[in-house]
């Protein structure tokens, strides 16, 4: 019974979501990777909200086959309760008639088994796509690392030539994925690349203080210093991605 409900919800929500996206045509920014999705989404949100963009992003766990459409439609989950799902099914239907919808969606895409990415990319087609990192996290459901990376390969292949792919070039597996896309690539990392790369965004921590970190960001055009009130390299990566996304969006305007 539970399986039947799950399958019904999966395809019902997909159907509604696709129609809603077709009606409103928001710009979609997708974040995927083994780690750091939450902080990257937050950083993108922070930059875009500062620039007064109307956006919506998915909460941390709403990044899979049922969670993602719920997040796009701005609905909660009924979790394991049949009763709780009834009003949500109705609200999903009513979403078709809502006039107001955000202009930008910032969506994390979560994968934990083969085929997940193909399914999620059948729901959304991002204009801007980000791969934060690929590690052995969640490898249990894959036969090996190649199998896991295959999911991300599917992701980059499906980003169109008008799209942007923001890739972590500190990760060799991600760097190789650049061969499989026609999208514009914007690489970033914390390691200097030799020979130097076009359009590369380099971040580096210059100082750790009791309040956070001082970070220098360098790209083709400029070098700038930022202070972040968080600790850890993952926040430097998030900062770089946030800055790149903001720049792309401002150029698209």
């Amino acid at each position: 019974m539970k399986m039947i409900l799950k399958q019904f919800l999966k395809y019902y929500l997909k159907f509604i979501t696709k129609i809603v996206l077709l009606i409103h045509r928001p710009l979609i920014i997708s974040v995927t990777g083994s780690t750091n999705e939450f902080f990257v989404k937050n950083e993108i949100k922070r930059h875009l909200e500062e620039a007064h963009y109307d956006l919506r992003s998915n909460p941390k766990n709403f990044n899979t086959e049922i969670g993602l459409p719920l997040a796009i439609l701005n609905l909660s989950s009924g979790y394991n309760s049949y009763k709780n799902w009834l009003p949500i099914i109705w609200q999903a239907f009513m979403s078709l008639f809502k006039l107001k919808f955000p202009k930008i969606l910032v969506l994390g895409l979560g994968i934990d088994k083969r085929g997940d990415m193909k399914y999620l990319m059948s729901l959304v087609r991002p204009k801007i796509a980000i791969i934060t990192d690929i590690t052995q996290r969640y490898i249990e459901s894959f036969s090996d690392m190649d199998d896991l990376v295959g999911e991300y390969k599917r992701f980059v292949e499906l980003i169109g030539e008008n799209g942007y792919l923001i890739l972590n070039y500190d990760n060799q597996r991600i760097k190789k994925l650049a061969e499989f896309t026609k999208a514009d690539i914007i690489p970033f990392g914390l390691e200097k690349k030799a020979p130097s790369l076009d359009n590369y965004w380099l971040g580096g921590v210059t100082e750790k203080t009791i309040n956070g970190q001082t970070v220098i960001v360098t790209n083709d055009k400029e070098t700038k210093q930022y202070s972040i009130n968080r600790f850890g390299e993952h926040h430097v990566y998030a900062l770089l991605i946030g800055l790149i996304v903001k720049k792309i969006i401002l150029n698209l305007k």
Binding site: T35, N36, F38, N61, E140, I210, R230, G232, H234, H235
Partner: protein
């Protein structure tokens, strides 16, 4: 032989439980175990990890990256900013985190300050580390609050740390921001670590919604080791899972001890902790509602015993720590209660010298159990 452990004792709480187990009809208000089962959402998360074959191997010593990342996110919501990669360790419950911390920051012969009354096992951990626990009395007349001058008087050149739980077990006291920042000043002045065990922080009653933690203050992040466990908040005492966090400079030292003690926290329990952080918020709120009701119940039942027991209404946790009127021997009373009416309580002396003359009653048990226990207590006191 056995020199290291010859002065250690099995905690009085556990001794009472072992003794109580001999009475088939005993009602125990002794051990601080929630009456609830682990929430279903947590079990489902664990089942998923089991099915995926993810739990059979060690994790990294500090814990699964995905768990530590979630911990960083949850801490940030409470105004605490720590790097999951270098500043957070998943531990086998809070006591392993406390043991690893004490072993890391102290040398044999050092002194560690404890408020009195406080949680029983701290003393034994300090003894195990070859250190000396120094008790500083809390002021019962001021709702079991800190008196900073007494703490300062207790500091000697051998003092390495101050260890306390906030909210306090057994009194249910919440230490306020002023008291805690005063303690932080002492720590800075005398170059001490502060180990803050906050396992009951989710069960706050009355006006205050959230406790203040010294781990929120960036200027002392390299002195504060904060300890948390899922045991109480998510009814997971059997899973043995918690975490500690502090500045990178401290955590890298504690990690060496943690690795020696347990290699890593149980991986299956780390997945349970992920379930708790992902989906357990509603269950914690529900537990809190129940405990608040039980607090009212136990206080109303204690009111009827006001000729024999005097209590301060706890603001948090699920313990009440009444003073025994006309009798100062808490062990004798606890044993008498067990033998005569089969109610298990913890004698106050277990919580340090200042706990003598009190007993600890847990309202983590069901309302039915509390009522039966108090019916028996009333019989015992001749009401």
């Amino acid at each position: 032989m056995f020199n290291r452990v010859k002065n250690l004792q099995l905690s009085v709480i556990k001794q009472m439980e072992i003794r109580a187990a001999k009475y088939p009809d005993v009602i125990s208000l002794a051990q601080g175990i929630p009456s609830f089962d682990t929430p279903a959402c947590i079990k489902r998360r664990v089942e998923r990890a089991l099915r995926a074959g993810a739990v059979a191997k060690y994790s990294l010593s500090p814990g699964l990256p995905e768990l530590r990342e979630m911990i960083e996110i949850s801490l940030a919501k409470e105004n605490m900013f720590y790097d999951w990669q270098k500043e957070i360790i998943a531990t086998a419950g809070s006591i392993e985190g406390i043991t690893a911390s004490v072993l890391a920051v102290s040398d044999p012969g050092d002194e560690i300050i404890l408020p009195s009354p406080t949680y029983v096992s701290y003393k034994e951990v300090i003894n195990l580390a070859g250190c000396t626990p120094i008790f500083v009395p809390l002021n019962e007349d001021k709702g079991w609050s800190f008196e900073l001058d007494k703490f300062e008087k207790a500091i000697t050149p051998k003092t390495k740390a101050i260890l306390f739980c906030n909210p306090n077990n057994p009194t249910g006291t919440i230490y306020d921001r002023e008291q805690l920042t005063g303690l932080a000043e002492l720590a800075k002045k005398h170059n001490l670590f502060i180990i803050s065990d906050e396992v009951y922080k989710d069960f706050i009653y009355g006006s205050s919604e959230k406790i203040f933690s010294l781990a929120e203050l960036p200027e002392i992040r390299a002195r504060v080791i904060r300890v948390f466990s899922f045991s109480k908040s998510h009814a997971m005492t059997g899973w043995r899972i918690g975490f500690i966090h502090s500045d990178e400079s401290v955590i890298k030292e504690i990690l060496k001890v943690h690795d020696c003690l347990v290699t890593c926290a149980p991986v299956i329990s780390q997945y349970a902790a992920m379930g708790a952080l992902e989906m357990g918020e509603g269950d914690v709120a529900n537990f809190k509602k129940h405990y608040n009701r039980r607090r009212s119940l136990i206080c109303s039942r204690l009111d009827k015993l006001n000729k024999y027991l005097h209590y301060i209404k706890p603001n948090s946790a699920y313990f009440v720590f009444p003073k025994i009127l006309n009798n100062s021997d808490s062990v004798a009373l606890a044993l008498e209660l067990l033998d005569k009416v089969q109610v298990a309580v913890v004698p106050g002396i277990a919580f340090g010298p200042n706990g003598e003359g009190h007993i600890r009653l847990s309202f983590g048990r069901t309302e039915a159990h509390i009522n039966i226990a108090f019916d028996r207590l009333e019989k015992f006191f001749g009401l």
